[in-house]
């Protein structure tokens, strides 16, 4: 019922976008004035803080993974997966891309003053191996060993080449101190109320507010620039939005209804930006006898007015998707525009009806198309009843499809039942999303890789529509083995063609990061022209990068 905050807690697989190499190592101005300024962050979570900071607990890791705990490298989604050094200064692939060696930075200290070293990195990864509950991104499904080499190198061996896992390994694993965690009895239930990390901030907490304070042992000179970042607890959207509008809070991760009236209009320094990251799509159960006919799927793709869905169902906050599956403008560099133009999946209800008629479908007396064998195009569409914006979008989709003679009836289920049905394939059509990643490959792999699917009745991990094609699998595997950007682009182009031609899913709107910021007292914000990190305050570890760039105005 609450506004979709899954983004908020969408840690894990959506890696951290690290970018901002410039941010990482520069010393702006080099003044000896030290950190100053107090930034207030408004991120409503609906409850008081539990004051636990275990970075492996998805409930709370979005709070401290970034500012307190840090990863090896930073991968910036908004700059096409640009990689920047972090706790590791460099990396190198070898052994046919089955080994990656990280050189660990020296001179880094934990916030309790003890020295950080490669041993901590090795310890962290082996901790994940020992306690699979901590291995949120299943890195050990591809790793075979993590060992230290020399004094400052970590060697990771893979079972098979899986280059895309670099993102999960280097960007999505918080490095924890061996000298603290080796004494913890059960790291899975460990509360970690006083986290010791390498990050720019230490943290102090009471249920009503989290306070990040500048870490005096931080390894980047001149960082952080802020003395304190306050994160009050909000139990509902309204007070959180009010604080943003009035300037009491300067950084927001909020869903604000009618944002122009209730936020932008309140002050000329109030700005917002919603960068899109992944798609919300219609999953089509390809095992269904009627839906396995590609003409039906094509017709649906032409029949939906994505812009209208975006405007009405998502208040215009989430831009319309396109049938290539590439999220624009974030990943526009990957889009094969000529291919897309060839198919031209724009809103074209006439074309939709033409396709159906050409395939032998006829309209019956109620205006619904019927297949040559007499089966009507009437389906139920599974939807998550708890996401009010998805329910609202579904109504527009329903109207659009009805106009071309396809009847869909929404089946709004609660969260667990929705997931149950979706994963098991017990649906005809479904509205849902994937988590995506720093390049389009991640979402496409989730959609198309046959290893991610399962027979109807068993749980598929992400390929819910049951798409399976050996040629596509081969492409996906090839991508996993290469580090050449040219190769990657070529493969993604071919994957786009798969989505355009086979229409296994119909992307409708693009999920976005919620982000508001005020320029009256602070500078260094992420903007479309300077997208050095994902700006959402719940995005790990990007929020840490943000908290290094933001500085008080002189």
């Amino acid at each position: 019922m609450r506004r979709l905050k899954s983004f908020g807690v969408l840690i894990g697989t959506v890696g951290l976008l690290a970018g901002a190499a410039a941010c990482g190592t520069s010393t702006s101005g080099g003044s000896s004035s030290g950190p100053s300024g107090v930034l207030t962050l408004s991120d409503e979570s609906g409850a008081l803080w539990t004051c636990g900071f275990n970075p492996f607990n998805p409930n709370v890791s979005y709070l401290d993974f970034g500012p307190v705990y840090e990863p090896l490298m930073f991968v910036d989604t908004l700059q096409n997966g640009k990689i920047s050094p972090w706790l590791a200064t460099s990396y190198a692939w070898s052994n046919g891309n089955k080994t990656v060696t990280f050189t660990i930075r020296s001179g880094v200290k934990w916030s309790d003053g003890k020295p950080f070293s490669a041993a901590d990195v090795v310890y962290t990864f082996n901790l994940l191996k020992k306690y699979p509950a901590l291995d949120l991104n299943a890195v050990w499904s591809v790793l075979s060993s993590v060992t230290q080499k020399g004094s400052d190198q970590v060697v990771m061996n893979f079972k098979t080449a899986a280059v895309p896992y670099f993102y999960y390994i280097a960007d999505q694993v918080p490095i924890v101190p061996e000298h603290i965690w080796s004494a913890i009895k059960n790291p899975v239930t460990y509360n970690d109320a006083d986290p010791i990390g390498t990050g720019a901030y230490t943290v102090k907490c009471k249920p009503e507010q989290i306070t990040f304070m500048a870490n005096k042992h931080y390894w980047q000179p001149g960082e952080p620039k802020l003395a304190e970042v306050l994160e009050p607890a909000f139990t509902s959207n309204d007070p959180a939005n009010t604080e943003l509008a009035t300037g009491q809070a300067q950084w927001g991760a909020q869903y604000i209804p009618d944002i122009k009236t209730f936020y932008s209009a309140k002050s000329s320094s109030n700005h917002y930006w919603f960068p899109p990251i992944a798609n919300v799509s219609i999953f089509i159960n390809l095992k269904n006898s009627i839906l396995s006919n590609v003409a039906v799927r094509e017709a649906m793709a032409y029949a939906i007015d994505r812009t209208n869905v975006s405007n009405v169902g998502e208040s215009g906050y989430e831009p319309a998707s396109n049938q290539t599956g590439i999220v624009t403008p974030t990943f526009s560099a990957w889009e094969d525009t000529s291919e897309a133009a060839q198919y031209n999946y724009s809103y074209d209800p006439t074309k939709a009806e033409q396709i159906l008629t050409a395939a032998g479908f006829k309209k019956n007396s109620s205006g619904i198309f019927v297949s040559p064998s007499g089966k009507p195009l009437s389906f139920s569409i599974l939807n998550n009843g708890g996401y009010s914006d998805w329910v609202a979008s579904m109504q527009v989709i329903q109207t659009d499809l009805k106009a071309v003679g396809i009847q869909v009836t929404p089946d709004n289920l609660s969260g667990t039942s929705y997931d149950d049905a979706l994963l098991d394939g017990n649906y005809q059509l479904a509205y849902g999303d994937e988590t995506g990643g720093p390049t389009p490959y991640y979402e496409m792999r989730q959609w198309l890789y046959s290893a991610n699917t399962a027979p109807i009745g068993q749980q598929a991990s992400s390929n819910f529509e049951r798409y399976s094609n050996p040629a596509t699998d081969k492409l996906i595997n090839e991508y996993g083995q290469t580090t050449s950007t040219a190769m990657q682009h070529s493969i993604v182009d071919q994957l786009e063609e798969v989505i355009l031609k086979d229409v296994p899913v119909i992307p409708v709107t693009e999920e976005v990061d919620w982000y508001q910021y005020s320029t009256s007292s602070f500078t260094g914000w992420a903007t479309p022209s300077d997208a050095y990190a994902q700006p959402a305050a719940y995005q790990t570890p990007d929020l840490g990068i943000m908290m290094l760039h933001i500085a008080p105005k002189k």
Binding site: D258, T399, P410
Partner: protein, 331 residues
């Protein structure tokens, strides 16, 4: 809270033998006739009946009043009231007036169907326990008592939490199960007090079957209590259903007053100045509930002469005994 009515009705009905003694064999028809006449002459009941009739009309013929499709997201969103949109539009561009009118149907269906089913269940459980006695009574009564003390809304929440999806039938089912207990208790008490009456002994001696006795003798004598049960349950069900829908259960894409409140809350209608979106459905729920309550309230006075309204006269300081006699006459 409306259950208090049944408690009051049963309390007083039980204490005044004349009120429910139907003579030799109950006559439901006579009772209903008396009720109808009494409603007509009682201002509160009349108001309630008129309101209810209005809502029933809205539920039966919504298209006559609201031309728009309530779910269509085709208008400009967040409009204020105007001649085109009497209550304005929602954040999704739907006409609020159309939603309010069309929503009557689902709300009324829930109220009436669950009210009737719940009353039937109350009658069965209450009468069976009261009349059969013995082990039956202990077991049935225990079940009823447990459901009586368990706070209903939390129980409703727990049940719907585990159901994969809660549509109108599901809502009705859980409402009936959790709401029948109060009526059952009153009916059982009434049955117990009536069981030993002479005319029932006579029927037993005559050799009538138990089923006959129950259907023909006992139930008609409790008509007023049964109607009171229905009215009280209907109010409870309207509020409970609205509450559940407000939380997001019961298919958010359907049109009813409760789901309107859900969407209004989700879009922070109050905070964004879209007051009507939040106020109108709640006001309608209150009016429907009030209709039932008014009828029930006056019902109370009808079935129990002692509670009948006393006209205000300047002779208020008169001998209280005379006053009592006066009340009896006008009741």
């Amino acid at each position: 809270m409306a259950m208090i009515f049944e408690a009051a009705a049963a309390q007083t009905a039980g204490q005044l033998p004349g009120a429910t003694e139907p003579g030799s064999g109950g006559n439901a028809g006579q009772a209903i006739g008396r009720m109808w006449k009494a409603i007509r002459s009682n201002g509160k009941a009349l108001t309630g009946s008129v309101l209810l009739a209005l809502f029933v009309l809205l539920a039966l013929f919504p298209w006559a009043i609201a031309k728009d499709n309530p779910s269509a997201e085709i208008y400009k969103p967040t409009l204020g009231p105007s001649t085109a949109h009497l209550f304005g539009t929602t954040s999704y561009g739907q006409d609020i007036f159309a939603q309010a009118v069309w929503g009557t149907r689902e709300t009324l269906i829930i109220a009436v169907v669950s009210g009737v089913l719940s009353t039937i269940l109350s009658v069965i459980m209450g009468l069976a326990a009261g009349y059969l006695g013995g082990a039956w009574d202990s077991v049935l009564n225990f079940i009823t008592d447990v459901l009586l003390v368990v706070p209903t809304f939390p129980l409703l929440i727990i049940i719907v939490a585990y159901l994969p999806k809660v549509g109108v039938p599901g809502l009705i089912a859980v409402l009936v199960i959790t709401g029948y207990s109060y009526g059952a208790r009153q009916l059982r008490a009434q049955t117990l007090s009536v069981r030993s009456r002479d005319y029932l002994e006579a029927a037993r001696v005559r050799g009538e079957r138990r089923f006959y006795v129950i259907m023909v003798e006992i139930i008609p004598s409790m008509t007023s209590l049964i109607v009171a049960t229905f009215l009280g349950t209907a109010v409870y069900n309207v509020l409970a259903a609205a509450g559940l829908q407000f939380l997001g259960f019961g298919d958010p894409s359907s049109v009813s007053w409760g789901t309107m409140l859900y969407w209004a809350e989700n879009n922070e209608a109050l905070q964004t100045g879209q007051y009507l979106w939040a106020i109108v459905p709640g006001a309608l729920i209150a009016l429907l509930g009030a209709a039932f309550v008014l009828i029930n309230y006056a019902f109370d006075e009808i079935s129990n002469p002692a509670l009948a309204r006393v006209p205000i006269t300047r002779t208020r300081q008169l001998n209280p005994i005379l006053r009592r006699l006066g009340a009896n006459r006008s009741g």
